[in-house]
């Protein structure tokens, strides 16, 4: 098959004998215009970007698989030399299956700390993730370790055979690059060995663990003599060295293999089979109750989660992201979260919970109630920013922000926050909605809206569409009972050993860097603590708000429309005609124009453009007609 060079990373060269995937729908790829010109890589400067006509950033233009620029690894400091032989190995963490009456599996702590050049003791690290969350200071990147930095030698998109999988050691190579983006927290997607039965994908879903207390051996660098746990600690230490916090993802359900071994932990249907959450084939649900009506929790399940926390703390993790937090009741978290805090008062907790539901639309899953989760001790939650693209008025955004500020201020359990869940690994790449300009718009909003800890999925910084050449293809080599490389199109692959996320728009990363620098730099107090002031406009597409703190005022102006330029007038109290407007984030896409008047700004905003200016309006909070919202 003759392939255009543009697809070279996906297809082996003609005559190569390393083909081990079958493409069931070759037309899907063959239909791509082979003669399509490769758009030149835009080089970032302070000037406005000019996208080539026909670029995929323009909505309405037929999409073709993105051009992936060759990956340029960041120059990293040399790896520390692994010890020739560890002083001792920790006891196997594998839990022992016990009948319900038996005591839960007990994990023996190591008799003596592992002696490593980079042991936690040698890293000056103090966890403050909980504080970062509630102070809106965390900037989070979600990473899939097995895809974080693998080497795809044959370019087929899958890491197989002798190809080096993503692992703890090679992941370290990317930390400086991540740090440079302004990221200070990693959300490590589950890193446990996946179940193999009725599995999704050829590697198994990250969210279908076969053992909650073990680390996927695939993440061990075979060249490194340390155990996978030690390599994990090493990775965490390296993060900490760079000031990056690490948050581990706790899956809400278990694989079928796990359920088979631990029936006492699993929820049962009336016919005795394990309960399956609606929409999933490869996972089964836990039973959090021993007696729901008497409110007696399932002790063995609590014990397992306790040990999970022990493990996380042992690995040096700074917090946990609870997958589908509603899968367990408030009483359950009211044990586990305080327990974690007994070990680390600053242990941070992020709940995957979105919005109030009257009832759950998902079979067997309880209704989503963010308030209850936050009350149970979670510091921050997902919220609903992932449906921002469905809010067709700026006011919808303001309403949501204001509602959450009120929620936090009225919380009896201290301030709460959200993550900037504009796009998570469950969502389709935002590139599909509005291309790089849209991603930069949402990044700008994350950097300037109140009560938000910015959140990105690995790959978004380069505009990855998460399109994989092996999508749903039959694969010859598999480590599960499935030979289909199941992929949820347009979403980060969590089922297969894929390549490192990489997209065609590195300018997003540069924008992100500047935006995060703004948020956690000179304007940290204004953005993380300042008041939120929606401004009046005459156009629903214009997002306009001010942030103010101690006389310092930021003016944010954006066009939420991905299809056209938007014109309108914004009432900006205190704005003077001679005010200089300097965009504090990089310009991109179509040009915007501004006409200043006293107390008023007339704008013509380019498609999906985002701007933030510092303006001299120290008394804006006292202006008539404005509503001021402050997070306590």
């Amino acid at each position: 098959m003759q392939c255009s060079p543009i697809y070279a990373p996906y297809y082996p060269a003609a005559g190569a004998n390393a083909v081990n995937i079958q493409i069931f729908e070759p037309k899907a790829y063959a239909s791509a215009p082979s003669a399509a010109p490769v758009p030149p890589m835009p080089q970032y400067s302070n000037q406005v970007y000019q996208y080539p006509q026909g670029s995929m950033y323009y909505p309405g233009v037929p999409f073709y698989p993105p051009f992936y620029p060759p990956y340029q690894p960041v120059q990293m400091p040399p790896l520390p030399q692994p010890p020739v032989a560890p002083a001792s190995q920790p006891a196997s963490p594998a839990p022992v299956a016990q009948p319900p009456v038996a005591p839960p599996p007990v994990i023996q702590p190591p008799v003596a700390p592992v002696s490593q050049p980079t042991s936690p003791a040698q890293v000056a690290h103090k966890n403050n993730l909980k504080s970062m969350f509630i102070n809106n200071e965390a900037s989070i990147l979600a990473v899939n370790l097995r895809m974080m930095n693998p080497t795809d030698l044959d370019g087929n998109g899958l890491i197989q055979g002798s190809e080096e999988s993503g692992n703890f050691i090679n992941a370290v190579e990317r930390l400086d690059e991540i740090k440079a983006l302004g990221i200070n927290t990693l959300h490590i997607l589950p890193f446990h060995p996946p179940g193999k039965t009725k599995a999704m994908g050829v590697a198994g879903s990250l969210y279908a663990p076969a053992d909650f207390l073990a680390i996927d051996p695939m993440l061990k660098d075979p060249k490194d003599p340390r155990s996978v746990e030690e390599q994990c600690k090493y990775f965490v230490d390296e993060c900490h060295k760079r000031g990056i916090k690490v948050m581990l993802d706790l899956p809400s359900c278990a694989s079928l293999d796990f359920a088979e071994k631990h029936p006492e932990l699993m929820a049962k249907e009336k016919d005795g089979t394990d309960k399956t959450p609606g929409g999933w084939q490869d996972i089964r649900m836990f039973e959090p109750w021993q007696d729901k009506e008497k409110k007696i929790l399932n002790r063995p399940l609590l014990e397992m989660h306790k040990q999970y926390v022990d493990k996380a703390v042992e690995y040096g993790m700074d917090g946990i992201r609870a997958d589908v937090a509603r899968a367990k009741p408030i009483e359950f978290w009211n044990v586990i979260i305080p327990y974690s805090r007994s070990k680390d008062p600053e242990f941070g907790w992020l709940a995957e919970t979105y919005t109030y539901e009257d009832a759950s639309p998902q079979l067997n899953m309880p209704a989503d109630r963010p308030h209850d989760q936050l009350k149970a001790g979670f510091d921050t939650y997902y919220g609903q920013y992932h449906i921002f693209n469905q809010w067709n008025k700026a006011q919808n955004l303001y309403d949501y922000v204001i509602g959450n500020i009120g929620m936090s201020n009225n919380s009896k359990d201290g301030p709460k926050s959200l993550i900037g869940s504009f796009s998570t690994h469950d969502d389709q790449s935002p590139m599909f909605y509005g291309g790089a300009p849209w991603v930069m718009l949402t990044t700008g909003l994350q950097a300037t809206l109140p009560q938000i800890n910015p959140y990105f999925v690995d790959g978004v910084q380069t505009g990855d569409y998460y399109l994989y050449p092996y999508e749903n293809a039959k694969v010859s080599g598999t480590s599960t009972d499935s030979s289909t490389a199941t992929v949820h199109r347009g979403r980060l692959d969590i089922f297969n050993p894929g390549v490192k996320p990489q997209g065609p728009a590195p300018e997003i990363g540069i924008f992100m860097q500047q935006a995060m620098s703004l948020k956690n730099g000179a304007y940290k107090e204004v953005i993380n603590k300042g008041s939120f002031i929606p401004l009046q406009t005459d156009n629903d597409d214009i997002i306009a708000f001010a942030r103010h703190q101690d006389g310092k005022t930021l003016l944010v102006v954006a066009n939420r429309n991905v299809n056209r330029t938007t014109n309108g007038t914004i009432i900006v109290p205190g704005l003077r005609q001679d005010q200089s407007l300097q965009n504090l984030v990089p310009n991109y896409g179509e040009k915007s124009q501004f006409q200043k008047e006293n107390g008023k700004l007339k704008v013509s905003l380019g498609t999906s453009r985002f701007h933030v200016f510092e303006i001299n309006s120290p008394n804006i909070e006292r202006a008539r007609g404005l509503k001021i919202y402050k997070q306590k």
């Binding site: 299956a97 029936p263 009336k270 016919d271 009211n334 044990v335 109030y356 009832a359």
Partner: protein, 795 residues
């Protein structure tokens, strides 16, 4: 404590830490319930009784329509509103279909029934499950399967709308427990509430499935039953309304006639005249005028069989002819005047203009506020000519134009002068219009209103359609009589279709017939009578039944008495009187109003039509009384001795069977022996009325008795003459009793049969529905499953 049990110091510290950790964890578990979940934002809604529920449903439908319109206008909606659009579509669509079908129906009742049918269908859809499924299930199971709740967004929803979307936390745990107790769910089952919750949904689903299964049959049945009951009420309502309206129309005739022609008709008339000012009048001209004035608008507006017959059968053609001639006469006069007026108006526009300029020029000089120069400029003769010289001006327009140029003409003389310039033209035009209006009011309108108002009145009172006073009276008499005859279904079937029965008996014999034959001896033993055997014909049956009434004694049921029979028929005559007396009084006023009309043939025809109808109904009732009177007197031995059997038979033939035709010249009775015939008439109408009959009619002073006496006298006269040469006499004989009875049988048989089939089906479906509920909500198997829950995977 160091070294105890060979535990190293380090391990001891670890053990202590582990113990501390374990204790801490245990204490946390003990405190796990220290935080409670928030109360749900939604709430369960009260469950209403069926009537309130129907009203709430109507209000909700209003909201749904509002949301629907909003969604159409904005393109935005939400899932709940979208889901409910199906219902809105059903209602709007149903209403649309009913409205369309109503336009195709002739009578008000038929039109109304389209909407009654739609409303009954919608109501049956709502009420059927509520009454026959939801309510019994509530009694049995302790919860409403149609329980509604309000969600966190304020939307009303059915809690069991979606079996996979269960807002169960809206129920209190105690409520779930109470339902479990009521339904005998074992108390020792683990996860009893979960089982109960699942069971509630399962039971609701079963109930709703039952509703779906039965609704397809039950709703049409219930709808037809409701419609059947509603139709009579609707007919009554329409009759009352029509009579009141028609009577009011007659009484207000004077006022209506005094009203000028409406503006639109005047304008349209003027437009036609304008079009024909320069060309000869042709057929199209007259047809357009005819269409415009529609002197017989009653036909167009009330196209129904009765109206058409009513008018066409009278003097419609003559009326049309008169009208056309009248229109032609007036139109020619109008055209002449109109053309003259137009000529004045258009002639010499220049001179009119110059006259204005000279007139206004002087006046403007003495007015303040506008300089002479500007005034001269504005009112330059050429300009003014340009503005005013279009030949289509009048004084008011000129004054308006001047006012628009800041020239306010307040000077009385000036105003008068301007009006004077145009006065001639306007005066002539006004005269034309006045003539038209005058003509329309006097001639065309009279013709139209006479026909229309009288037609409406006559139809309301005496129309052949179902919703007229006399039709109802006739139907009442027919039904009352047939009921009193008390025929069985078998008899009715035979009397309305004798041939079929005969064939059946002669040839195959149906299974039922055979069974009946087998059962006949048993029935005899049980004391049942066999009327079929005794009475082969309707006549035999009717005579026998009337004889029974005649033979009535105090020891029998009052419903079989002479008194009851007469009074039961009389009440229908009274009912007609109640309407036609005030209505006829209105007609008299109307007649007085139109006393000066040259041609009152329409009025006369209408009056005759009404009178004949009433006379016909009265005649029918009187024949019944006469038959009873005859049979009553025939009980007397002396009477039987005075008349031969042949005379008696002839008398019975006359009263039971004699018929006429509208233009009857002969009476269709036996042309046998004239003496027998004469004797028969004497027996029927000449001899003294039976005392009991007389008493039941109120005696000498009773109106009914007087009417009956008059009827007998008239009948005696008519039958003696043996010639009926006018319609009124023909209809005064009333309907032959046998015909009346057969018609009554047909109606009663159909109604009864219909009720037997549909009533039985309705009762059947209700029975099945209720019976099926005994199989709903079985939970033993579920309970067993829950008891063994987890066993499959348990270690």
């Amino acid at each position: 404590m160091n070294g105890v049990n060979n535990i190293s110091a380090q391990n001891q510290i670890i053990s202590q830490n582990l113990l501390r950790e374990k204790n801490l964890f245990n204490s946390l578990i003990l405190q796990s319930g220290s935080k409670q979940v928030d109360q749900p934002k939604g709430k369960l809604l009260a469950t209403y009784d069926p009537v309130t529920s129907l009203m709430v449903s109507a209000v909700d439908t209003g909201k749904d329509v509002r949301n629907f319109v909003k969604a159409i206008a904005t393109g935005k909606s939400d899932d709940t509103s979208l889901g409910r659009m199906n219902d809105v579509g059903l209602k709007i669509g149903g209403l649309g279909i009913a409205s369309y079908l109503a336009t195709k129906r002739v009578t008000s009742t038929a039109k109304g029934m389209e909407f009654v049918g739609f409303a009954a269908f919608m109501a049956a859809m709502t009420l059927w499950p509520k009454i026959f499924i939801n309510f019994p299930m509530y009694l049995k199971h302790g919860f409403h399967i149609d329980q509604k709740y309000q969600d966190s967004n304020g939307k009303k929803k059915d809690f069991s709308l979606d079996n996979q979307y269960r807002p169960l936390d809206l129920w209190k745990a105690e409520e779930i427990d109470a339902i479990a107790d009521k339904n005998h769910i074992d108390k020792d089952i683990k996860d009893r509430r979960e089982l109960t919750e699942n069971w509630i949904y399962k039971t609701s689903l079963q109930g709703k499935t039952l509703a779906t299964l039965t609704a397809g049959i039950a709703v049409p049945l219930a709808t037809s039953m409701v419609c059947s009951a509603a139709e009579k009420k609707l007919i009554d309502f329409n009759i009352n309304r029509a009579v009141e309206k028609a009577t009011a129309g007659l009484e207000n005739m004077g006022k209506t006639l005094a009203k000028p022609l409406d503006k639109n008709t005047s304008k349209a008339f003027e437009a036609i005249l304008s079009e024909y000012k320069a060309k000869p009048l042709d057929g199209n001209f007259y047809s357009r005028l005819g269409e415009l004035f529609n002197p017989l608008g009653v036909i167009k507006n009330e196209i129904d069989g009765d109206s058409i017959k009513l008018i066409s059968g009278m003097n419609y053609e003559q009326s049309s002819k008169n009208t056309a001639e009248a229109i032609k006469e007036v139109a020619e006069r109008a055209i002449e005047r109109f053309n003259a007026a137009q000529a004045v108006k258009t002639q010499n526009a220049e001179s009119v203009t110059s006259g204005l300029v000279s007139l206004l020029g002087d006046k403007l000089k003495i007015r303040g506020g506008i300089s002479d120069t500007s005034a001269t400029t504005v009112l330059d003769a050429e300009k003014l000519k340009g503005i005013l010289g279009n030949g289509d001006l009048n004084a008011q327009k000129v004054l308006k134009i001047l006012k628009a140029r800041n020239v306010t003409v307040e000077d009385g003389d000036l105003k008068a002068a301007i009006e004077g310039i145009f006065g001639g033209t306007e005066g002539q035009m006004k005269e034309v219009v006045k003539a038209i209006r005058g003509y329309a009011a006097k001639d065309l309108k009279e013709a139209r209103l006479t026909t229309g108002a009288l037609g409406r009145f006559a139809n309301a009172l005496a129309g052949k359609r179902a919703e007229s006073v006399y039709t109802r009276g006739y139907n009442g008499i027919s039904s009352a009589f047939t009921d009193r005859m008390n025929p069985s279904m078998e008899q009715m079937r035979r009397f309305i279709d004798t041939s079929r029965i005969t064939d059946e008996i002669k040839t195959t014999k149906s299974l039922i017939t055979r069974i009946k034959e087998l059962l006949r001896p048993v029935a005899k033993k049980a004391g049942e009578k066999e009327p079929e055997k005794e009475c082969k014909t309707a006549e035999e049956f009717v005579i026998r039944q009337i004889k029974k009434i005649a033979e009535w004694k105090n020891d029998k049921k009052p419903e079989d008495s002479v008194d009851y029979f007469i009074k039961n028929i009389k009440k229908h005559l009274d009912e007609m009187d109640k309407f036609d007396r005030p209505a006829l009084s209105g007609m008299k006023k109307f007649t007085d109003t139109l006393a000066t009309l040259k041609d009152d043939s329409i009025r006369t025809a209408m009056s005759n039509f009404i009178r004949r109808s009433r006379v016909s109904n009265d005649g029918t009732a009187m024949r019944l009384f006469a038959a009873l009177d005859l049979e009553k007197r025939l009980l007397s031995t002396s009477v039987r001795q005075n008349y031969s059997q042949k005379v008696i038979k002839t008398a019975q033939d006359i009263i039971y069977r004699a018929t006429t035709i509208t233009s009857a010249e002969s009476l269709l009775v036996s042309k046998g022996d004239p003496e027998v015939y004469k004797q028969a008439l004497k027996l029927l109408f000449g001899d003294k009325i039976d005392k009991e009959v007389k008493g039941a009619m109120g005696g000498e002073l009773g109106d009914l008795f007087k009417d009956f006496k008059n009827f007998r006298a008239k009948m005696l006269s008519l039958y003696n003459r043996q010639i009926i040469d006018n319609t009124e006499d023909a209809v005064s004989l009333g309907e032959p009793i046998i015909n009346l009875f057969k018609k009554g049988c047909k109606k009663k048989y159909n109604t009864t049969k219909w009720m037997q089939i549909f009533g039985a089906a309705t009762v059947g479906i209700i029975g099945i529905t209720l019976l099926a509920q005994f199989f709903i909500g079985k939970s033993k198997k579920e309970q067993e499953l829950y008891k063994n829950k987890g066993a499959k995977n348990a270690v």
